[in-house]
Every structure is written in C-alpha cells, then in structure tokens.
C-alpha cells in the first residue's frame, strides 16, 4: 500500500542536495575574493594617481572619495563586506578565512603584472604555502554547524 503525503512538507535543510549548497558557497567565495582584490586594487590605483592634495580639509577627502577609481574601489569593498557577511552565514569562519586568503596571492600577481616588480624566492614560497593551505582547508566541509543556506 502506498502512502501519499497528506500535506506538502517544507523542505528541511538536510533534504537540500549537499552538492548544490557546496556550489553556491564556492561561487560566493569566488565573488568575495574578486570584489576584495579588485576593490583594493582600484583604491590603490586611485590613491596613487589622485590629483587631490590631501590636507586637513575634509573637502579634499570627499573629493577623493568621489574620484572615479576610489569610488569604484569603495563600491567594490562595500560589496565585499556584504558578500563576506553572507558567506559567513553559509560557511565556517575557520573555512572562510584561509580560503579567501587566495586574494593575497592574486594581489601579488596583479601588482607584479602592472608594476613589473621582481618575484623573490620568499614570495614564491609564500604563494605555494597559501595555495597548499587553501587546498587543505578546501578538502574539509565548508559548514560544520547546523545552519545551511537555502
């Protein structure tokens, strides 16, 4: 005898396919890293190429914030803050911190590509260590507490 469900049960967190949750977390992690890297880079570029003289006057700072590169950088960093908050609701803090450290490596390479700096052995060693660390943390489950993203 088949027994049908009398009422439509709400989907419980454990019924959501784990792969779907994992993909969403990874996509959001990539977005967090990207907004952080591009935001910092735009801010840095804007500060280096700004034509505003910074003194004690707050007007100079306001003008600087609304200069194109600094404005883009600030907007991207606001997006970074909000997406990181969301990610912290989906994944463990002890997962998010090491995994998003890939941003350090990308910033290094962006800096070298645009500024043409030399790469020392310490930097290569640092990059390799960060990549190993990220790979190790990436092998663990992103969320070890009860809450799961819907």
């Amino acid at each position: 005898m088949s027994v049908g469900r009398a009422v439509a049960d709400p989907i419980q967190p454990q019924q959501i396919p784990h792969r779907r949750i994992d993909v969403k977390t990874k996509v959001l992690t990539a977005f967090v890293v990207l907004t952080n890297v591009l935001g910092n880079f735009a801010m840095s570029w804007g500060m280096k190429h700004q034509a505003v003289e910074l003194g004690v006057s707050p007007l100079a700072y306001i003008r600087l914030i609304f200069s194109p590169w600094v404005f883009i950088g600030t907007s991207l960093l606001v997006l970074w803050l909000l997406s990181r908050m969301t990610l912290l609701g989906w994944a463990d803090l002890s997962y998010v911190l090491p995994v998003t450290s890939i941003g350090y490596v990308i910033i290094e390479f962006l800096g070298r590509y645009f500024l043409g700096e030399q790469v020392s052995w310490q930097h290569w060693a640092g990059t390799v260590l960060i990549m190993i660390g990220i790979s190790l943390v990436g092998l663990t489950s992103a969320n070890t507490t009860q809450q799961e993203p819907s």
Partner: protein
C-alpha cells in the same frame, strides 16, 4: 611599545568583528534567493538593523585605523605578518566560541596560510 599596542588593537578588533559577524550571520543567515536584484534592498535593510553587525563594522573600522597607525610606526614587513597571526587566533576561537569542527586538515591549512602571508610580506 606603541607598535605592540597597535598590533593588539588590530588583531583584537579584527577577531571580535569576525566572531560577531560569523555568530550573527549563522544565527540568521541570508538565503541565496535574497541576493537577487529585486530583493537586495530588503536584505540590506534587514542587515542594517542587526546590532551585532553594526558593532562588527565598528570594530572593522577600529582595526583599519589602527592598522594605518601601525604602518606609520612600523615597517610593512612587520605589520602584515603580525596581523596574519589573527588567522590562527580566529581558528582557535572559532572552535572554542563558535563550536566549529576544526579538523587536523583545517588546522594545517590555517597554519600554512598564516606562514604564507608572513612570507609574502617579506
């Protein structure tokens, strides 16, 4: 003396900000559907009303300005590796305070990342 005080403020406020954000967002996480453009405004209004998140952003601002001050009294090659130590401290606190399961693999990863960041700053 002042640089160690600044290191303490940077690390302490970063750790507090991250713990507060993680605890609050876990308690009431944002659904993936709320990230759609039509619902984004409501989601932002909801976040702006949550006191622990406002306090966390306040601590992030303290950390930012203390880091600026640290850079004015110490070299970048000192400031970045020292602040990278917060990754390890936060992993310890994530286990103790947030009750996350930190396996040996995750410990090793966090240590590798902290050492890697320190090397990048050299």
């Amino acid at each position: 003396m002042i640089r160690w005080l600044m290191v303490g403020i940077v690390v302490g406020s970063t750790v507090l900000a991250d713990l507060l954000q993680s605890h609050e967002m876990k308690r009431n996480s944002v659904a993936a559907e709320d990230l759609r453009p039509g619902r984004l405004g409501g989601m932002l209004r909801g976040l702006a009303r949550r006191v622990p998140l406002i306090v966390a952003v306040f601590f992030m601002a303290i950390s930012f300005f203390a880091f600026m001050k640290l850079l004015s009294v110490a070299a970048l090659s000192f400031a970045v590796p020292v602040s990278a130590a917060s990754v390890v401290l936060e992993t310890v606190l994530a286990k103790l305070v947030l009750k996350e399961t930190v396996t040996g693999l995750r410990w090793s990863g966090a240590l590798c990342v902290a050492c890697g960041v320190a090397l990048l700053a050299m």
